[in-house]
């Protein structure tokens, strides 16, 4: 038997554990995707390939409404979060340290630190007051809540992009008599665009995935896809849940791949 060359970085058994971990990480997800194309009524028995459960899900008005609601909320929240996060990133980077800078960082990153269930409860109480006071019951509450917790996810890639940018181009624009707004519109914004798009995509994915805060903030009949699924699972796992999961999964993977390609091009 050929002796393996001694490698200092090799630790016995580590590669085996790692491979098992990768298999264990993907096996359940792959099972879920495969069974979403299962023709059988049960989730456990294989009955041949079909689109049946996608049709079932698509023809279900509740699912369709939840999907539309999810997209409206995620799009609005991503737009709002990205806009305010871009401004905040422009405000907090590329200038001398100033009073209150740490406070701004803490508030912006706060949604990453406070447990979701605590924020969910806080918003439940606060929005209940406003609902009573104004009588408004619409999607605005969900959009506001989602915008808030999406801000740090939009902010981080934009700030990272800004920090890597060269100030001299903007100085050059100013030297050529560009107004500050022209310099921003024609120089800063185009250079910053990949960061903004990446931030918006992350915010969109995070909003689309949220369960806990949505579950507490939504009024009756305002299910999003994840909260609809959560309600379904409580009763029994039906195969159409697999179909919805797979569809959401596909959307997430597409957006994430685009995100990685965008951020990788930076250098």
């Amino acid at each position: 038997m050929a002796e393996r060359a001694f490698s200092a970085t090799r630790l016995p058994g580590f590669a085996t554990v790692a491979i098992v971990v990768f298999l264990a990480l993907y096996a359940p997800i792959i099972t879920l995707v495969v069974f979403s194309f299962n023709d059988a009524n049960s989730v456990a028995v294989w009955g041949g390939l079909s689109w049946r459960w996608y049709q079932v899900a698509w023809e279900n008005t509740l699912v369709k409404e939840a999907a539309v609601r999810s997209l409206i909320i995620a799009t609005s929240a991503a737009l709002i979060a990205t806009t305010v996060a871009t401004m905040a990133a422009l405000g907090t980077t590329r200038r001398a340290a100033f009073r209150g800078q740490t406070a701004i960082y803490v508030i912006i990153n706060q949604p990453l630190m406070v447990p979701e269930i605590v924020t969910a409860v806080a918003l439940l109480i606060f929005f209940a007051w406003i609902k009573v006071a104004t009588g408004y019951q619409g999607l605005g509450y969900l959009i506001a809540a989602h915008s808030a917790f999406c801000i740090p996810f939009a902010y981080l890639p934009i700030r990272a992009r800004l920090e890597g940018m060269d100030l001299s181009l903007e100085t050059a624009a100013a030297d050529l008599y560009a107004t500050p707004w022209q310099a921003f519109r024609r120089v800063t914004l185009p250079l910053l665009a990949p960061g903004i798009i990446a931030g918006a995509m992350l915010a969109f994915v995070i909003s689309l995935d949220d369960v806990v805060i949505t579950e507490f903030v939504k009024s009756g009949g305002q299910d999003t896809l994840p909260t609809y699924m959560l309600g379904q699972i409580r009763r029994a796992v039906t195969p159409d849940v697999n179909a919805i999961s797979t569809a959401l999964l596909a959307l997430t993977v597409i957006l994430l791949t685009a995100f990685f390609l965008l951020t990788r091009k930076r250098d």
Binding site: A15, G91, Q110, I125
Partner: protein, 302 residues
């Protein structure tokens, strides 16, 4: 410093605040601010139907740990509450231990790949990290249910006649949490191992250290910041977990997150729910401070 410089600096600070203002307003209205209301609610009495009413009292905080006897009014330890706290802490610590035990070899494996394939392995860990937590929980549910993949395969193979009852137990919650939070352990471990100078290993072996000695005396001390980071990043969301125990634990195997929800639902004890939320927030903040300190120490060394 000249007056001009002073003025410029003041203008710069003003611009910074003005540009940050919209984000701060959204966050204070729909994230940070309402936390103060929860704090106030924790000092009120439960309302007759839902909500809260006066008088201000410490009752809710006291009832986190104690119940008052209906007849003689003496305080006793609330066993039901304690068992939920104990389950939450125990499952969170076990989740942290399991994710470390399997996450460390995984992170080491990724960090020792050739540069080209390393990015791919890292991407494979990152995808589940960004994937919907509910979907990953559903996927695990699919595998361990009574009629799930594992039981179906085992019964068909003739190894068992009755399905293994995993779902709706603490074990199910533990498997689920370890599964969904694993990437949070692997990513910081990878970052620490990636910075580790592999030449130190050769030095260790040259000095006749065994593999175990090298692991214990060279590798582990140097990647300790990554271990602390990963452990806290897994422990914090585990302690506040809501979705995974709800889906995999059924109604009975509650953790703190589900217990908080109960107080705002059927429990109709909003002050207790508020006090529990604040307790969770304090524990998480302390854990985060430990993390920040460890991270800073790492930076000053590294």
């Amino acid at each position: 410093m000249s007056a001009n410089e002073d003025r410029q600096r003041a203008a710069s600070t003003r611009t910074a605040w003005l540009l940050s203002a919209p984000a701060l307003v959204v966050l204070i209205l729909a994230a940070s601010g309402p936390l103060l209301i929860v704090l106030v609610y924790s000092f009120l009495s439960p309302g007759d139907y839902t909500g809260v009413q006066r008088p201000f009292t410490l009752e809710a905080w006291q009832s986190i740990l104690f119940t008052r006897d209906i007849f003689d009014g003496t305080l006793q330890l609330a066993d039901a509450h304690l068992s939920i706290f104990w389950r939450s802490v125990k499952l969170s610590l076990l989740t942290t231990a399991i994710t470390f035990a399997v996450g460390f070899p995984t992170a080491w494996f990724i960090a020792t790949r050739p540069a080209k394939s390393r990015a791919l392995w890292l991407f494979l860990i990152t995808i589940p990290f960004w994937t919907n937590l509910l979907i990953r929980t559903v996927a695990i549910n699919e595998v361990i249910r009574n009629e799930g993949v594992i039981n179906t395969l085992l019964i068909r193979a003739g190894l068992i006649d009755q399905p293994l009852r995993i779902i709706y137990t603490d074990t199910a919650v533990l498997i689920g949490m370890a599964y969904v939070y694993l990437p949070l352990m692997v990513l910081p471990l990878f970052a620490a191992i990636d910075r580790f100078d592999m030449k130190l290993l050769e030095a260790g072996y040259d000095l006749y250290a065994s593999r175990l000695q090298v692991l214990r005396r060279v590798i582990l001390p140097l990647v300790k910041p990554g271990i602390v980071a990963g452990s806290i990043l897994v422990f914090i969301p585990s302690l506040g977990a809501y979705v995974t125990p709800r889906v995999l634990g059924g109604g009975k195997n509650m953790m703190i997150g589900n217990f908080i929800e109960l107080q705002f639902g059927q429990g109709r004890n909003w002050p207790l729910g508020a006090a529990l939320s604040m307790t969770l927030l304090v524990i998480v903040t302390v854990a985060l401070l430990v993390y920040v300190r460890a991270a800073n120490r790492d930076r000053s060394h590294g």
